[in-house]
């Protein structure tokens, strides 16, 4: 993302700031790809998003200083649109999972940002209401909503394509039906595995999905 770096170098003449902006964008891009490919909702990156949004506001002001026809202005504005798309798409992917797996996510709510948690609570209460209305018209003991039944859990056994960022200290056990295989994971190695085998490493960013 040299444009981004360029944008900051031009305006701020500050290397450290530029590196930060670039690495933040890289982290958000990775988070976005992971979220798109992961069967469950991953720990939130609200802080990164917040930092990036502040940067965008800043960049926007910087761009306004430039002539509209200035080539740099066009390139920077395109860059801004791409970043905004990335953030929107990332938050939408999370929202879709929050809604679909609402009851399950509620039980595993530590991964949500405060705003997402507030949304989930609102979504749950509004979505249960129509179902409860129907149940209330039911005779006898069957007329009760069973939260266990309503809970849709993500399929953690789904296969994913994974790539390791690091040499993992411990081997992982890959189970495929009755067979089990012990694997030593080295940096940059790739493999298709059931998500559950690498879940903890995806969640702490040591393995990414591709």
């Amino acid at each position: 993302m040299s444009n981004l770096e360029d944008m900051f170098l031009n305006e701020e003449e500050d290397d450290e700031e530029a590196i930060t902006a670039k690495s933040v964008l890289e982290m958000i891009t990775d988070a976005w790809v992971n979220e798109k490919l992961c069967p469950e909702i991953l720990p939130n990156k609200a802080e990164l998003v917040e930092v990036m949004m502040e940067q965008i506001d800043q960049m926007e002001e910087n761009v306004l200083q430039l002539q509209k026809t200035d080539l740099r202005s066009i390139i920077h504005r395109q860059e801004l649109e791409r970043i905004r798309y990335l953030i929107r798409s990332y938050l939408r992917a999370r929202l879709e999972k929050i809604e679909f797996y609402s009851v399950w996510v509620f039980k595993n709510q530590s991964v949500l940002s405060p705003q997402e948690l507030a949304y989930l609570k609102e979504y749950l209460s509004l979505s249960v209401a129509p179902l409860k209305n129907l149940c209330d018209r039911f005779p006898g003991p069957a007329g009760q909503l069973n939260p266990k039944q309503m809970e849709i859990a993500p399929d953690l056994e789904a296969h994913v394509f994974a790539k390791s960022r690091v040499d993992l200290p411990d081997t992982i056990i890959v189970h495929d039906g009755p067979r089990e295989e012990e694997i030593t994971v080295t940096k940059d190695s790739q493999r298709i595995v059931p998500y559950s085998c690498i879940r903890q490493y995806v969640r702490d960013d040591r393995i990414k999905l591709i």
Binding site: M53, E81, R88, S89, L95, A118, L126, L131, C135, P139
Partner: protein, 196 residues
């Protein structure tokens, strides 16, 4: 047979050529009526004296309990799946749904839509800095800053963030910022002319 009406309700939803078929309250009522009969049997049986020879109601109760659960599952699945469709429509049509679709919604569903819109609006207001972040935009990865569009129906004036005003009359063509017309293209007011 028990559960037949309930499965008809589900098939109606699955096979409908309509985007959002009318809420079939008549059938829902019939299913609930069947449930009352099933439940009555169970209550009567439980309060009668069990006798393995002359009054063995165990299988009868088990089957009817299963039928009750089945009817309940079908009813809830019917409503749940309709809500999923409404949700999708909120993202595609925006907050104003076409009258043909609105006409097919139950009272509960109308209320649900309002609440869903409100919940989304609350969330979007609270993310992404000062002004919130509208997640309904950028549904596709952006390519060009400006794009060429043709107006498919009379729309009237559109004022851009820059203050520039466009008159969107039928068949007129314009060169406009992508970010500000994407929504109108998705709604079918404008058409994106792509030269590539």
């Amino acid at each position: 047979m028990w559960g037949d009406k309930a499965i008809e309700l589900i098939k109606e939803l699955e096979r409908s050529s309509e985007l959002f078929p009318p809420f079939d309250d008549d059938k829902v009522r019939l299913i609930l009526e069947e449930c009352r009969v099933l439940n009555q049997f169970i209550e009567d049986a439980m309060s009668s004296t069990f006798d393995p020879e002359t009054n063995n109601y165990l299988a009868g109760v088990k089957a009817r309990t299963a039928a009750l659960e089945r009817n309940k599952r079908c009813l809830l699945a019917y409503q749940w799946n309709r809500l999923q469709t409404l949700k999708k429509m909120r993202w595609e049509f925006g907050s104003i749904l076409p009258p043909e679709i609105k006409a097919n919604m139950s009272e509960t569903e109308v209320q649900w839509c309002t609440k869903y819109s409100k919940a989304l609006a609350n969330y979007m207001k609270n993310i992404g800095g000062r002004n919130g972040l509208n997640l309904m935009l950028d549904m596709q990865p952006p390519k060009d800053l400006y794009i060429e569009v043709r107006c498919l129906k009379e729309y009237g004036k559109l004022e851009l963030d820059s203050g520039e005003v466009f008159n969107l009359s039928e068949n007129s063509q314009h060169y406009m910022p992508r970010s500000q017309v994407e929504n109108l293209i998705r709604l079918g007011v404008l058409e994106h002319i792509n030269w590539s």
